[in-house]
C-alpha cells in the first residue's frame, strides 16, 4: 500500500455513501412524476455527526497483469454497505428487509404487511 491512511479514507468515504444511500436516500415521485424531494433541504444525506465508526482492513493481492503488480482502488466501500445494513436489520427484525432505503417507516411497513 502506497498511502495507507489515504486508502482508508477513500474506502471509509465510500462506506459513508453506502450508509447514506441505504438508510435514507431515495428519488420519490408523486403520481404526476414530480420529484417529491427536489433539493438538499428535503433530500437528506448522512452528514457529519451521524457517521458510525468505520473499520477498514486491506488484503493485499498483486494484480498479475499490471506493471509492478499494482492494483487501483476507489470508493469500493459503497458496494457492500447496503447489503450489510439490510442483513443487520433483517436479523434484528427477524424478516427479510431488502428494499432500499431502509428508513424507519419502510421497516415499519414491511413488518406490518408481513406479520411474523
Amino acid at each position: 500500500m502506497i498511502n495507507p491512511e489515504l486508502m482508508r479514507s477513500i474506502i471509509a468515504g465510500g462506506m459513508a455513501m453506502g450508509v447514506s444511500m441505504a438508510s435514507r436516500e431515495a428519488a420519490v415521485y408523486d403520481e404526476k412524476g414530480v420529484v417529491r424531494a427536489p433539493n438538499l433541504r428535503t433530500y437528506k444525506l448522512l452528514h457529519i455527526g451521524q457517521e458510525p465508526d468505520y473499520r477498514v482492513g486491506f488484503v493485499e493481492t498483486p494484480e498479475q497483469d499490471s506493471p509492478y503488480g499494482v492494483r487501483s482502488y476507489s470508493e469500493h466501500g459503497i458496494i457492500g454497505i447496503p447489503a450489510a445494513l439490510a442483513n443487520a436489520l433483517s436479523a434484528a427484525f427477524g424478516r427479510e428487509l431488502c428494499l432500499l432505503p431502509l428508513t424507519p417507516e419502510r421497516i415499519w411497513k414491511a413488518i406490518r404487511e408481513e406479520p411474523k
Partner: protein
C-alpha cells in the same frame, strides 16, 4: 442571493411600525414585518415571496422584553429562540425552542417569527397553548391583549397589519411538570414527524401536537379522553388517535398512516411516564 430590491424600514415604536405597514401597503409595496429573517430570506431567495418592503420590529423596546413579574412571564415577540432557551424561565418552552432548527438558527429565529411564519410546524405554539398564555397585539385598534388560543387556530389569525408585541405566560404553568417528545423521520435536527408537548396542571394532562396534522393543535376532546380515569391506558391512546382535528399529514417525510403510528407510540410513552414516572 435575493434577486430584487426592497425597502428596509426600521421603526422605533409600535405606532411607527403599523403606520409604515399601512403606508407601504397603500403604495402597493407588499410589506412584510421582519424579525429574525430566517424564513423571509430563505423564501425570497427561493422566489416564493417577493416583498417590496420589510419592516424590522427588532428595535421596538416593547417587542424586546423578556421578564418575569409576580404573576407572569413576558416574552417579547422578537426574542430569539436561543434567548428564551437560555433564560430557562419556562422549561417546557426551553425544550421546544431547543429542538427547532440548529443552534445557529435558534440565535436568529424569533418567537413571533416562529408563530407567524408559513412553515407549518410552529412548535413554540405548543407550550403557549398548554399554559393558557395570552398575547398582546398592535394594529389598527392600537394595543389589544387577548387569550393566545383565541387568535391562534393552527396559525396566527391576525387582522391586517397587526403584529405580536408580547406573549404572557401565567406563572402557574411555568413550573408545572411537563413533557416534550419530538420524533423526526431520521435526523435529530429536522422538522417534526410528530411533536407532542404536555403539561400536568391541576391533576389534568394537557396535550398539544405539531407535525401530525397540517397545523398544530390542542384538542379538548382528545384531552378529555386521555384523562378518562375509567379507561385503560391503551384504550385512552386508541380513542385519542381517532380524534384528530384534521386528517394526518402526508408528505415525503412520512405517510399519514406512519404519522398516526408515531403519534400513538408517543402517547403510550407519555401516559406511561405520567403514570409511573420517567423510564
Amino acid at each position: 442571493m435575493i434577486p430584487f430590491d426592497f425597502i428596509y424600514c426600521r421603526p422605533d415604536t409600535m405606532e411607527d411600525a403599523y403606520q409604515a405597514f399601512v403606508q407601504l401597503q397603500t403604495e402597493g409595496k407588499n410589506p412584510y414585518y421582519y424579525a429574525g429573517g430566517s424564513e423571509i430570506i430563505t423564501m425570497a431567495r427561493a422566489g416564493s415571496i417577493r416583498p417590496g418592503a420589510v419592516i424590522d420590529l427588532k428595535w421596538i423596546p416593547e417587542c424586546r422584553v423578556l421578564s418575569l413579574d409576580s404573576d407572569e412571564l413576558h416574552l417579547g415577540s422578537v426574542c430569539t429562540l436561543n434567548e428564551i432557551k437560555e433564560s430557562k424561565l419556562f422549561p417546557l418552552l426551553t425544550l421546544a425552542c431547543g429542538r427547532i432548527a440548529d443552534h445557529t438558527n435558534q440565535c436568529r429565529i424569533t418567537l413571533g417569527g416562529n408563530l407567524c411564519g408559513t412553515i407549518r410546524y410552529r412548535e413554540t405554539c405548543l407550550p403557549l397553548l398548554l399554559a393558557d398564555a395570552s398575547v398582546t397585539l398592535f394594529g389598527g385598534q392600537g394595543l389589544r391583549r387577548v387569550p393566545f388560543a383565541s387568535v391562534f387556530n393552527g396559525r396566527m389569525r391576525l387582522e391586517a397589519g397587526e403584529f405580536i408585541v408580547q406573549v404572557h405566560v401565567p406563572k402557574k404553568a411555568l413550573q408545572a411538570p411537563h413533557y416534550h417528545i419530538k420524533q423526526t423521520a431520521n435526523e435529530k435536527i429536522d422538522y417534526p414527524m410528530v411533536t407532542v408537548a404536555a403539561l400536568w396542571q391541576d391533576r389534568f394532562l394537557r396535550v398539544a401536537c405539531s407535525g401530525l396534522c397540517a397545523e398544530p393543535f390542542r384538542s379538548a376532546e382528545m384531552e378529555a379522553v386521555l384523562n378518562a380515569q375509567n379507561l385503560s391506558g391503551a384504550d385512552r391512546v386508541r380513542k385519542a388517535v381517532e380524534l384528530l382535528p384534521q386528517p394526518a399529514y402526508d408528505d415525503v417525510e412520512g405517510s399519514a398512516e406512519y404519522r398516526k403510528f408515531v403519534f400513538q407510540t408517543i402517547l403510550e410513552a407519555l401516559l406511561e411516564e405520567v403514570t409511573h414516572g420517567p423510564l
